[in-house]
Symmetry: C2
Subunit: 111 residues, 2 copies
Amino acid sequence: MAIHKKDEFSQKEQDLAAFAKALSHPARIAILKVLAQKNECICGQLVELLPLAQSTVSQHLKELKNTGLINGETDGPRSCYCINWKAVEKFMGEFSFLFNKLKVQNEKACC
Amino acid sequence: MAIHKKDEFSQKEQDLAAFAKALSHPARIAILKVLAQKNECICGQLVELLPLAQSTVSQHLKELKNTGLINGETDGPRSCYCINWKAVEKFMGEFSFLFNKLKVQNEKACC
DNA sequence: TTTATTAATCGTATATTTGCGATATAAGAT
DNA sequence: ATCTTATATCGCAAATATACGATTAATAAA
């Protein structure tokens, strides 16, 4: 794969793809679910709840944070995470828009 | 990565992740956009519109089809694709649910 | 039947992701 | 100061994803 073709797409397409990518692993879906139930959650609790090693959970959290989907702040020796609601709303809105446009235009059946 | 840990998550989590994964590449976002505008589209047209080789586009289409996001039928020597609206609606609904639940519960600010 | 067109698949190279143990870091407890 | 606890990071191995050219398959056109 000599060259990264991703850069040849529009920024919006890349952003949407990056958001979807953050959600593209069941562990990260599970993390978001837990954060939804608990509002905020310590890393260690997530490690207990998930079938993954501590370092792996930390890595998934980092990815979610890098994408902007969650916030994290250190609380003594612990790390507390919660969902970045603004970011989630933004991206969900863009996906809804993408697919709603579709729905309006394509009432008729297709192949 | 000796073992596939994905299987240790719930089916729903895996399904949501698979849906997100299908959307996790700008080329596939772009394909869905085109299908949204045109309702249905021939593979060759997509190849013209995207900065990718024919075989690569075909591969992305296959992925979208495998995930159930699009339908395709052969039309002579051509292949015609369109969005599987039911599948899109189902998954968007589940994501909305996941995040709406969150929103209702977490009016208060978090970290 | 031969030739052209269109798309899928195969083989392969490279990049990225996933996962874990080991180690480092940093704060609190003793 | 030392020890414990909690988390992040590093380094590595294995799995997947991305991309393309070449080939195959299948239809339409000549």
